[in-house]
Amino acid sequence: MVEKGGIIQLKNIDVTFHNEGKTIEAVKNVSINVNKGDIFGVIGYSGAGKSTLVRVINLLQKPTSGEVIVNDKSLTKLSVKDLRKERKNIGMIFQHFNLMRSLTVFGNVDFPLRDSKLSKQERKEKVDKLLKLVGLDDRSNNYPSQLSGGQKQRVAIARALASDPEILISDEATSALDPKTTTEILKLLGRLNKELGITIVIITHEMDAIKQICNRVAVMEDGALIEEGDLLTIFGSPKKKLTKDFVDTSTQISSVLDEIKESGIAGSISGRLVELNYIGNVTNEPLVVGLYKKFDVEANILFSNIERLQGTTVGIMLFALTGDEDKVSEAIKYLNGLNVNVKEIDIAESEEA
């Protein structure tokens, strides 16, 4: 699963905490390889260890065992001084922004530049450029307390970019923001990835955030990495139960199924209930019409969700198929042949489960 030579390589990372006689294994034997230019998402519920894991990347959290290689340098073997130098190459943004209250927007972005060799004038130009990049050039004399959450996060992003890092770590950076602002911030990160070629590692508990910009995803549960792959694979054919749960919350199919069960309309739905998952351009074929023409099977669409992920169409649909019993079976076979993942759903059964 781990390819060689990524910009970030975590090898067999263990993080164990000892607290009042209790031992907590926050991260268990996790290996991750992030390639240059990736937007790598780590998703999991709170307490899954994802925050601890990303802190291992810049060694804010020292791993109990394992190796951290960033840019071909083994950080775990560096001296404290060299480690500080490497940290400047890894920008970080946080859930609660972590800006200095006593400094203006300008002062906050200038903060990491004060150690640089740049002259005062060069620093000013750089800060202005960064603020422009995040769309806040008109707020440079404001204090953080005068800004909205989304604006604060933009300042934090500008600050993180000040030392020209090759890597940006986002630790639940959108979790304290409303959905609209979240989308704006994610779009900004996506743009930075494209324009600056910066490698981004995002951790979140929202599949929607992952879906919007990541090209690769890792799923964590109880400190372990349970599934990893590119976004389309994870989204189109999740293997583990937790992964499927995350995908379902994002497509809303689970809430639709709940709705069908609770509203009691399950009994009034005739025919066989099937869930279709597909990746790619199957949608170009008129499915519903095709089923009717070829098999005389009527497809009643109960739910449909089609999204573009990384430029590829990913769809999920819920059909109630009615018609001659044999014909319906044939229709399902036909769908399978079209690279559509078909799963039959028994409402009564899933109710018990």
Binding site: L60, R84, R87, N98, F111, R114, D115, R159, S163
Partner: protein
């Protein structure tokens, strides 16, 4: 006005000038307050920072060092000031050459105030958002830079608030030190006003001390208002 003062504050007028007069006493109180405030301030800030950075989740944790310093600060904070004055007499003599007068009061005032202020500094700096410290660490700042550029900068309004508070309680201590030989307005109020039944002297001494307290509080509040965003 002159008439009013002569009628109601006869002893204040009689004790205004001269070696043991009000003018000298006011200077002595100001001297004791500000010199001790500066030294206790420096020691307190250093000790307070050491406590904050060496604690378990500090930026350079050191269990043994923290525990020893923590106990020492507690110990010195627990000694009642009047007793401290007497106990450290020989040490005072060693440092400033005398145990009486405003100069002799300095050593016990500093030793009595510094641990108290250290605790205040520790509380003020612990309040600095841990996330900001973490962000600074992630930027590759060294501990010493984190202390100066984050802790002291972000904690400044709270530090001034504790500084004001500590200086005011220090004025209280100078009055106590004054009563046992330190001079100043405390000495005036007790040795002249109280013991010679010259009540106007006691009251005027108190008023001068109150004025000093209000001025310090006012300056402190003003600075905090300017610094907080």
């Amino acid at each position: 006005m002159t008439n009013f003062i002569n009628t109601y504050l006869p002893n204040v007028v009689a004790n205004w000038e001269g070696d043991n007069g009000f003018v000298v006493a006011i200077w002595q109180t100001l001297y004791m307050t500000f010199v001790s405030a500066i030294f206790a301030g420096i020691f307190g800030i250093i000790l307070g920072i050491l406590l904050v950075v060496t604690t378990d989740d500090g930026i350079t944790p050191h269990k043994t060092f923290y525990n020893v310093l923590d106990k020492l600060v507690n110990l010195f904070r627990s000694i009642p000031f009047v007793i401290l004055l007497a106990v450290i007499g020989p040490f005072t003599k060693l440092i400033v050459g005398q145990t009486i007068g405003p100069k002799g009061a300095l050593v016990p005032l500093i030793i009595g105030t510094a641990p108290f202020f250290a605790r205040q500094v520790q509380l003020a700096l612990v309040e600095v958002d841990h996330g900001v410290i973490e962000a600074a660490e992630a930027m590759g700042l060294s501990p010493i830079k984190i202390i100066f550029r984050v802790y002291l900068k972000e904690g400044l309004p709270e530090l001034i608030r504790s500084g004001t508070f500590t200086t005011i309680s220090l004025i209280g201590l100078t009055a106590m030190a004054g009563a046992v030989g330190g001079g100043g307005l405390g000495n005036m109020a007790i040795a002249v006003g109280y013991q010679r039944f010259e009540n106007d002297v006691t009251i005027v001494s108190m008023i001068f001390i109150l004025i000093l307290v209000f001025v310090i509080q006012g300056i402190g509040d003003l600075l905090v208002r300017k610094l907080e965003h």
